[in-house]
């Protein structure tokens, strides 16, 4: 393979260019060499077209829902389950939705619960964030309450409903208390693990640039911890919603208005299985919708910006 050594050394060697043209946009010599390397080593990433997104992301869940509905209808039509008080038909549940909509109750149910859930979540955010910062940065606080905070995450928040009712009575404050106890540990823990996972290199780089103390926390630590924090928020919302539903089911009272949990409880009391189904579907729908509309896009944006989201 020695035959390849024919071309001479007269090519565009960088040495001839060195130091000659200061910062000039020379496209030959070193500048051209560098531009070539840059072009070779970077690949353009373009956005996936809309049609592709529809086929890849929207179609599969639609098919899944359709299959569930089909199986459900088949169970009724083939008389596998005969008792409408055990399993109502999809049409019965559909009528339940239609009536609630026409009588203007449907949005009321949703709004009662969603407004409670989101407001409670915002409180949890306002408490969980400084708490997480404190646990992450202050050794004494971490040793004191770090393990308790992690432990609380595994405590089902239903357990807080009885004491909350006794302390605060049957009112909205009790609902918020249960949401807080469910969501604050998740949010705080998310922030703590986000901060713990900040690469030490970023902190060193920040310090040499003069980002220490609060400037370091603001410019380096917080943005670096953002993915972990967002994961905590997402989980915090799931916990908020679950806690709220538990509270609404157990502690229903006319003063509280009818939310989705109360709707479920009312359905049980009235032995109306289609109302129970209506409530369960709505609870599921709201939980998924909030995640899809708020948290998933936020998380995707952050991860994509950092090149952490690998396209399948």
């Amino acid at each position: 393979m020695a035959s390849t050594e024919t071309t001479g050394t007269a090519g565009t060697t960088a040495s001839a260019e060195d130091g000659a043209a200061p910062g000039g946009p020379a496209k030959d010599g070193l500048g051209g060499l560098e531009a070539g390397l840059d072009a070779l080593e970077t690949s353009a990433t373009d956005r996936t077209p809309l049609r592709r997104t529809l086929v890849d992301k929207v179609l599969p869940p639609v098919v899944a829902v359709a299959v569930v509905l089909l199986v459900w209808q088949a169970l009724i039509s083939l008389k596998v389950v005969d008792d409408p008080s055990k399993l109502p038909s999809p049409a019965d549940v559909g009528d339940e939705f239609k009536d609630a909509w026409l009588e203007g109750r449907l949005l009321g149910y949703i709004w009662t619960s969603v407004s409670r859930g989101l407001l409670g979540f915002l409180f949890a955010l306002a408490i969980g964030t400084p708490l997480g910062l404190l646990v992450a940065r202050v050794k004494f606080v971490r040793a004191a309450i770090g393990p308790i905070l992690s432990g609380l995450q595994s405590l089902p928040s239903v357990a807080w409903v009885p004491p909350a009712v006794i302390w605060l009575g049957l009112n909205n404050s009790m609902m918020y208390a249960v949401i807080l106890l469910g969501a604050v540990p998740s949010i705080a823990n998310g922030l703590v693990s986000g901060i713990d996972q900040v690469p030490p290199l970023f902190l060193r780089a920040g310090r040499t640039m003069g980002a220490t103390g609060w400037r370091g926390a603001w410019h380096i630590v917080m943005p670096a911890a953002l993915p972990g924090y967002l994961a905590g928020l997402k989980q915090g919302w799931a916990f908020s919603w679950r806690s709220l539903m538990a509270a609404e089911i157990i502690a229903s009272s006319p003063d509280l208005g009818i939310g989705l949990g109360a709707l479920l409880e009312n359905g049980r009391n009235a032995s109306s299985m289609s109302m129970v189904f209506e409530a369960i579907i709505l609870i599921l729908f709201v939980g998924i919708a909030i995640d899809l509309l708020i948290f998933s896009p936020l998380e995707r944006r952050v991860l994509r910006g950092r090149g952490l989201l690998v396209k399948g």
Binding site: G19, M209, G307
Partner: protein
């Protein structure tokens, strides 16, 4: 022109960019206090390019951390002309910012007013020949481009002394070669002093005006060479190879001593 804002003008008041005097550093190890650096004395003159060369365990990165002010020496003193900037083997660019914004953050942290930052970041990107990459995210850049942005960010701190901790060690040979040329050019244009740590003998000789060899465990200044080969040099040049060979022999001798027990 980018060069005018970057030239360390008025630096003549100090006769050194860094002065390291009798510096020792020990860490608490499993066998008690372990001496990592032993009585290092070294000056870097304004505008000088010095490479610190040594095998693993010579404490060259530790010394760089001390000069950067990230750690304190156990004994001795270090004075620098202003706060030095530091470049790492990993680019250490912040992935939540674009290339341009990374540079602007460095400008912001040293108090450059908001309306000047964008322009200066543009000039610095031009200096490292990445004019079109202002809005690029870190993950969209190649390894060589990342290190050039990191260099631009380090220069944005407007330090008189640039500390480099094996900044090209993780790059492929072709890119590294190009970045050697690039660094030599930028050093000449800006007049910044450079203290460059490496374990690559040829890289040390290719770049530096002075090569300082550290012995290992503990790190001591073993020998110094003045490199009088005129720039621009290439790593394949005969004089570079010749001096590299000589230094390598001394370095191997230093390493051999550790095998004799």
């Amino acid at each position: 022109m980018a060069t005018t804002i970057l030239k360390a003008e008025g630096a003549a008041s100090v006769e050194y960019a860094a002065r390291i005097e009798h510096v020792s550093k020990s860490f608490a190890g499993p066998a008690g206090q372990q001496l990592v650096l032993d009585d290092i004395t070294l000056d870097v003159a304004p505008g000088e390019f010095v490479t610190l060369l040594g095998a693993s365990g010579c404490g060259k990165s530790t010394l760089l951390n001390l000069v950067a002010g990230l750690d304190r020496p156990t004994a001795g003193g270090i004075t620098t002309d202003g706060r030095p900037s530091l470049m790492f083997q990993e680019h250490a660019l912040f992935p939540w910012l674009t290339a341009g914004k990374n540079i602007e953050l460095a400008l912001k942290l040293r108090g450059v007013p908001k309306n000047e930052r964008r322009g200066r970041a543009g000039e610095l990107l031009e200096l490292v020949r990445l004019t079109g990459s202002y809005g690029k995210r870190v993950h969209e850049l190649s390894g060589g481009m990342r290190q050039r942005v990191a260099l631009a960010r380090a220069l944005a701190q407007d330090s008189r002394l640039l500390l480099m901790d094996e900044p090209f060690a993780a790059l492929d040979a072709i890119t590294r070669d190009v970045l050697h040329d690039e660094l030599t050019r930028i050093w000449a244009e800006t007049g910044v002093s450079v203290l460059f740590v490496t374990h690559n003998v040829r890289e040390a000789v290719r770049l530096a005006q002075r090569v300082v060899l550290l012995s290992s465990r503990p790190g001591r200044v073993a020998r110094e060479w003045r490199v009088d080969i005129p720039q621009p040099r290439r790593i394949e040049d005969a004089p570079v190879a010749e001096l590299s060979l000589e230094i390598t022999e001394v370095l191997r001798g230093e390493i051999r001593r550790h095998g004799q027990h």
